[in-house]
Symmetry: C2
Subunit: 620 residues, 2 copies
């Protein structure tokens, strides 16, 4: 997936964006103070582009991954795999990443500071006064520049580095992290890279995976894993980082199949609610999305591939389920100029944040580019078998060796020559030479070369009936940047109470901790009840926290709210008398009294959405 | 954790080992054929030491991780984090990995093939005839060799490489994968490594994590993540690989606390069953473990730290729960010579396999080595605060400046000199000079140096009452090699039926797929029932597979058994009449008939161990 922040803004939601902006400082404060996430190895100074997830961030990430797996892997019976982060060089040469996965860099010739060429020049051009139409034109063209064009631009405007020094020439910089497998040696190429996407591991296992699906298409393969990108100038936060988690699906299909979707998938599209679309066509004249149902967009041809439509609908469900705001999701189609080198169509789910619309999910049609590349680079078969609906008749060129003529000259070699002539691999080449009256050199399996004359062979064409054929499947690839989605989710769920305190209003499904247990005061007889209840919740698979500190109950409520714990269970002196506890709902600020013996079952049923809060219980 | 295969063999279980050996070929065949796991990027040739998990392997791995998290993280309320794989150089210098995390290599001076020095020389020495006591002595000493000793050994025995050529000198080879953050530059040190263990990320976040636990000790932090080790000669299978998943806990505690364990943890140790122990002491005279309860071993001092004992008991539970055979687990204490550089005690859970006893879990006492190192390398406070049980009186040296004498010479400088003299940091140094009658040079905050004479100051000691103090917490680190554990689990659960077919008898908790759905024959009215039931299972969080191929039901049963699916649900023509299906138990080979409407709830209750198979239903 491409990971650029899109600057075009859909103004319908500028109100939301400014709300996110107004809370940005508060969010950053909570994220850091409560260790939701933090710069990695920060005690050693500034390590940009690397972030650690603290306890709350980790649990949130893990719950988002679980929801993703339930919706995408378990419901659709996908094959899930885990491939290695370390990737040998050869497959990345085939995939085009060694040659084409790069940005351009410049450095200040005095300070030696590095800059990403397009970003720094854009910044410098924006400062030029007066801002003429021609400068604006140059700014627009920057992202498509080739290496020499950067140098020309620097010369044209006499641009200097931020420290006032000359720039070096621009040079390409590959964005993959490079290392070596085993000891470095002059004689062996043991270069390896950290994967820039998770897809290649899946693609190189295609034949095994096809076998897991008993040779049948279509089928999808999913992988959640880390990917790496050696950003030249990483930004703060989770938007442009050097190490990030992707959740990717490679969905293999036969482009000639009359129907790509199962009945259940078709039904899914039919019943999917409206989404906001901004097609490539529309972007030529407007940056405003239009609302449409997925099935309408598919019928009218705005979305061209039914699998892409299915995954758009499914992604929308996923994003809503984890708590992204519906009005803040739009689908933008890539313009032909911005597509990754392997893709021929791509729709991004963009999510509105304080930084504008951010690309969080990409659903690309990779076609058969990768499988063909890997096949030709390895000489291995990476095709699937298609049974033809109608057997097809096909003309096939055949060679007719003239045994008597061959034997005259070649004696004992005759059988092997005839066998080689009947081998289809060389026949087209031979026919060309024959037609051109050129020398007929034939290489035998033992690498000897024999010269034939035209009397020794002739050609004919035969019609063959084909009932099946091999082909390269095509691929639709939904790719989710989970870190970015998490960033958006934090912005979307941060809410303010009337008393000016903040809390995260996470859906119960993704809440990092499902509940917090508190003893009203720190007395052993109350504390031991919280410990036992916590253990029973854990055994039922419900992750809870305990806060038996000496802080007031109000203070402890605030601390729990701030990391989005949706329910609080309080053990008090009444508990010792009647074995009941208080259960408080964070965002509603309402509470019920419930027998301890019913707590585990009740919260379990609420959390699995079988029951609605407050169930049979009454507010107190 | 250290990842060596232990050669000493506990002969009590040689029967089990030979059973594992006899099934080894069959296991390898199933693992490869059914894509449980496979060499990464195999179509590009031999990439040793890198393995991909296929669908069944991935699901198994994921279930094992879930069990681990439930037992270790959720039950004990640990803080779970996810730190980056990429690690800047500085923290790994502090942790000792840049200097000491290495093996020794040799190369063949003609072929340039690399060898791990200790391994290849051991192999060559084993071939020497006659095998004298002195050769055996040299073999034993190999693993502790320093670099020059390898060269001497080669000279002594005139050893040649396997291709008959001279060896190079031995040289150290760091086992971390090296790369660069951002563009390589002569002026900046941007070297980074892939983490060799997950611990350092946790340790460098210690202060934040302590804060998450409101400043209180003890507390534990858990992380499941990838670690990397650039093995010189990786072996086949999951035993010696270059990229592997670790599940690690860093448990921080106050070594002076009167009690390290909570009441629940103490109870846990008391009720833990017997385990097999092979202490460092015992290994001097025997390689046979002895059976003991954990609490006995702790009381008698065989296990010295109660946290280590707790984690040994808990680990035993975990291993049994996922399906490792009890008799095939033993606990071996590290000899002082084999400990990692950061550890001062370590107990390994070793599991018996076809390759002998394999280290799968290490529970090490890391002491305060790492926190002290990181603190001194960053000059950052990485201590915790301990409230003293009894306030302690401590003598403190104080300086008494003689204002009049100082003012005579230094006039306006007097206040700053007095302030500097009262600063405790310089006082011990100054007293030494004073006592030795040497020149009293005092550096002022502005870096000016003034010379004092003995009239200008005197010293006294005061008694101060301390109520708390800062200290470096110590750490117990349980570290699980999940890939190795999975390898052992596959060996332990592979069973043979009477009809010579094999199946995995996974505990339901870790079974990759919980059930498989089959339509008796591939007819739309039956198939659609399986699809709907599958969706209902998915929504209840139960991962199932569907096999509606045209193969016979028996063939499909075998295919499902071979990847360890414990239950089969069959939809047949009776289903159309009475809405019931057949539920078959894989290892018992028994089946019941159950209404469709009850299936989801019933399997859910069996899977969460609330109900026993076959419940209220009768075998048919």
């Amino acid at each position: 997936m491409q990971v650029t922040v899109n600057k075009s803004s859909d103004c319908q939601n500028s109100g939301m964006q400014s709300q996110f902006c107004s809370q940005k400082g508060i969010l950053e404060n909570i994220v850091k103070r409560r260790f939701i996430l933090a710069p990695a190895y920060e005690i050693y100074g500034n390590t940009t582009g690397l972030f650690d997830f603290g306890p709350t961030g980790s649990a949130l990430k893990s719950e988002i991954e679980t929801v993703w797996k339930n919706i995408f892997v378990k419901e659709d019976d996908l094959l899930e795999v885990h491939c290695t982060n370390l990737t040998p060089c050869a497959p990345l040469v085939a995939s085009g990443h060694v040659d084409r996965f790069e940005d351009f860099i410049l450095y200040d010739t005095v300070t030696k500071n590095y800059y990403r060429a397009d970003k720094i020049l854009e910044e410098l051009l924006h400062k030029i006064k007066p801002m003429t139409e021609s400068v604006q034109e140059d700014i627009r063209k920057l992202s498509g520049f080739k290496v020499a064009e950067f140098d020309e631009l620097i010369k044209k405007y006499k641009l200097k580095s931020p420290d006032g020094n000359d720039f070096s020439n621009a040079m390409p910089f590959n964005l993959m992290f490079k290392t070596n497998l085993g000891p470095l040696s002059v004689d062996s190429n043991n270069t390896a890279y950290l994967r820039p996407e998770t897809a290649q591991g899946i693609l190189c296992n295609f034949k095994r995976l096809l076998e897991c699906n008993r040779g049948q298409l279509p089928f999808g393969v999913a992988q959640i894993g880390t990917a790496f990108r050696n950003e030249i100038s990483p930004r703060n936060g989770l938007l442009r980082v050097r190490e990030f988690v992707l959740a990717e699906i490679e969905y293999f299909y036969d482009p000639e199949a009359s129907e790509l979707l199962s009945p259940i998938q078709k039904e899914y599209i039919e019943s999917a609610p409206a989404i906001k679309l901004l097609s490539a066509d529309r972007q030529k004249t407007s940056d405003q999305s239009v609302s449409s149902s997925v099935s309408e967009a598919l019928k009218s041809g705005i979305i061209k591939n039914s699998l892409i439509a299915y995954y758009m609908a499914k992604t929308q469900t996923f994003l809503l389920k984890i708590g992204i705001i519906n009005e803040c999701i739009r689908w933008r189609q890539h313009m032909s100029t911005e597509m990754a080198h392997y893709a021929n169509d791509c729709w991004d789910a963009e999510i509105l944040t304080s930084s504008g619309w951010i690309e969080a999910v990409g659903i690309a049609n990779r076609g058969d580019f990768d499988l063909k590349q890997h096949s030709s680079h390895t000489n291995r078969d990476l095709t699937a078998l298609r049974v033809l609906k109608k057997p097809r008749e096909q003309e096939v060129l055949k060679c007719i060796p003239v045994k008597r003529e061959i034997a005259k000259q070649y004696k004992a070699l005759t059988p092997v020559i005839i066998e080689t002539l009947l081998d289809t691999k060389t026949i087209n080449e031979l026919k060309t030479l024959y037609d051109k009256n050129e020398r007929l050199s034939l290489t035998l399996p033992n690498q000897d070369v024999v010269e034939l004359n035209k009397d020794m062979l002739s050609f004919t064409t035969e019609v063959v009936r084909l009932t099946d054929e091999l082909f390269f499947p095509k691929i639709v690839e939904p790719s989710f940047g989970l870190g970015r989605i998490m960033h958006c989710l934090l912005e979307h769920t941060l809410k303010k109470r009337e008393d000016d305190r903040y809390y995260f209003d996470f859906p119960i499904l993704v809440a990092p901790y499902k509940c917090i247990l508190m003893a009203l005061i720190n007395k052993e007889e109350l504390v031991s009840i919280t410990s036992k209840l916590k253990m029973r919740l854990a055994k039922a698979g419900i992750f809870s926290k305990v806060d038996n500190s000496n802080a007031s109950i109000g203070r402890r409520y605030s601390r729990a709210d701030e990391i989005g714990i949706p329910y609080t269970i309080t053990v008090d002196f009444e508990t010792l008398e009647d074995n009941s506890v208080t259960l408080r709902h964070t965002s509603l600020l309402k509470q019920i009294r419930i027998p301890i013996s019913e707590v585990v079952d009740f919260v379990k049923r609420i959390f699995s959405e079988v029951e609605q809060w407050p169930g049979k219980y009454e507010f107190i």
